[in-house]
Amino acid sequence: MSSPAREPWLQALDRRDATWWIDRVCRGGVFVGGMSAILFLTAIFLFIATQGLDFAWHRLSLGQLLTGQRWEPTVEPPEYGALPLIAGTAWITAVAMLVAVPLSFGAAIYIGEFARGRQREWLKILIELLAAIPSVVWGVIGLQVMKPVIQQLFDVQVGLNVLNAGIILGLMAAPIITTIAEDALKAVPDTYREAAEALGATRWQIVRKVVLPHARPGLSAAILLGIGRAFGETIAVLMASGHRLMIPDSIFDSAATITATIAAELGEAAVGSDHYQVLFVLGLLLFGITFAINLTADWIVRGRRGHG
């Protein structure tokens, strides 16, 4: 520097003291944390893709995978028709939503619009606890509790079936749907409720005519994220569904899902074999579906905010 001797206070201005370094380091640390999501997402996607792509490119017909009705990877010649798995997943998810949506919306409406004070806080804590139950425990409930109940109640031979897995999955997805739905209800301005109440609306009329219509985008997002949750669940479904590799004809048929098939077969398939690789293609399919569901949910919620 050519300038004459600096004023003492000016020197103090560009001194890199401890706080400056702490700021730098912490900023770097949280940056890594923030970017890690992108990193892991890309890495996992690449891993799944590279493991399955060679086979998918050269020897697998996508049409056969998506429409083939026989999943027989270990017989000779092998058949890789994933329709039974896709159908099983769809059936079980549908039943799960039929169970979860009424329960969760009921719970969210009760907590958000009717319960007061301490009762409300307790219910919220209990529902979050429900979400903390490990999925293998749910599987055991399906295996040991639901199975005999279904057999006796409906007088059917097989108790491990679409209905069983659907109920278990529904109960597992209910907490997340409840929590997000309740957030959606909470986002409805209280002035709307007050206005409707002053016009002589009952509590239920307020919910039905004002709160629910206004919260609709958030409620749709809650359902979608619940579907995403149900889609990805593995072990509980494997235990409760009976894992039969055929397209179910009714809710009393056993069925297999994409996730359960990957979990059950990956350990047996020789690394790098066609069977091994087709399981990764299934994983890619799953990845794509859940990714699309989550993006759609996000888009619905954001679109709503954009409109005010």
Binding site: G117, A198, H214
Partner: protein, 262 residues
């Protein structure tokens, strides 16, 4: 509503006797006695926290929204005790409409806002023609019809604040309430909109009994028949507006009106 009480005074819209009100353990109203004459505009004035909004919100029991409110004493609307065992807040609100400080149209169309209350109470919806007539009449009454008649299906939340507040008055009218309660209805509006809404309130005088809370002395003076001055949860003075502003009976009233406090 409850059965008529003994000797209902036909010329009184609201009759408050010995009203005490607590928010939890905090007492907001003390032994309030008040007669509001039918067909008049009565202004409730007083410094912030004096209980005027609480008193207003007691008259349609909307104050009970807060779960921790308790009251003693009676309020009669057109002679009916609104706290009587058989009276439900729902029915009370049908006869006692309310306008809030901030315009609060529901996030529905203009038309659905106007018909909201009517649809709540009608077992079978009125015919389309009746609904159209009700919408037009209510919007004409608040001088909004010509401005919005071509966009009745637009969202009410897209209107200007002045139009929103007029709509909030209009949507009270189809159920033919006897009393309109207004909680500082112009405080969120600019001067021109304030003047327009004031004119509207004045034009509704006679057909409805109007009780209006205001912070604005000039507004109370030019747009009310009667004036009630409250202080610390009590009614200090109640007289004809002209008299209160020219010759207040109590020293506190004079001090407040002249801007020495509050």
């Amino acid at each position: 509503m409850a059965e008529p009480q003994a000797e209902p005074s036909a010329d009184l819209a609201i009759e408050v006797r010995g009203l005490n009100l607590w928010y939890g353990t905090f007492q907001a109203l003390f032994e309030v006695d008040l007669d509001i004459e039918a067909g008049n505009v009565t202004a409730l004035i007083g410094p912030s926290g004096c209980g005027k909004s609480t008193l207003l919100r007691s008259c349609n029991r909307i104050v009970e929204r807060l779960g921790y409110v308790s009251t003693t004493g009676t309020i009669r609307v057109l002679g009916h005790d609104i706290h009587a065992g058989t009276a439900s807040p729902i029915q009370v609100r049908r006869h006692v409409g309310m306008v809030f400080q901030r315009p609060n149209p529901l996030p529905l169309s203009i038309r659905d806002n106007v018909l909201f209350a009517q649809r709540l109470h009608a077992a079978h919806g009125p015919s389309r023609a009746d609904q159209d007539a009700a919408v037009e009449q209510a919007l004409r009454e608040v001088l909004l019809w010509d401005r919005v008649k071509d966009r009745l299906h637009h969202r009410a939340t897209g209107l200007s604040l002045e139009e929103q507040q007029k709509l909030c008055i209009a949507r009270l009218l189809p159920t033919k309430p006897a009393v309109l309660l207004m909680d500082e209805p112009c405080s969120a509006l600019d001067p021109a909109a304030t003047a327009a809404v004031e004119d509207l309130i004045w034009s509704l005088r006679g057909r409805y009994s109007i009780l209006i809370v205001t912070h604005n002395m000039a507004q109370a003076r030019r747009a009310s028949d009667q004036c009630v001055f409250m202080l610390m949860g009590r009614v200090v003075e109640h007289s004809a507006t002209e008299q209160m502003f020219v010759a207040p009976q109590r020293q506190e009233t004079a001090d407040y009106i002249e801007g020495r406090f509050g």
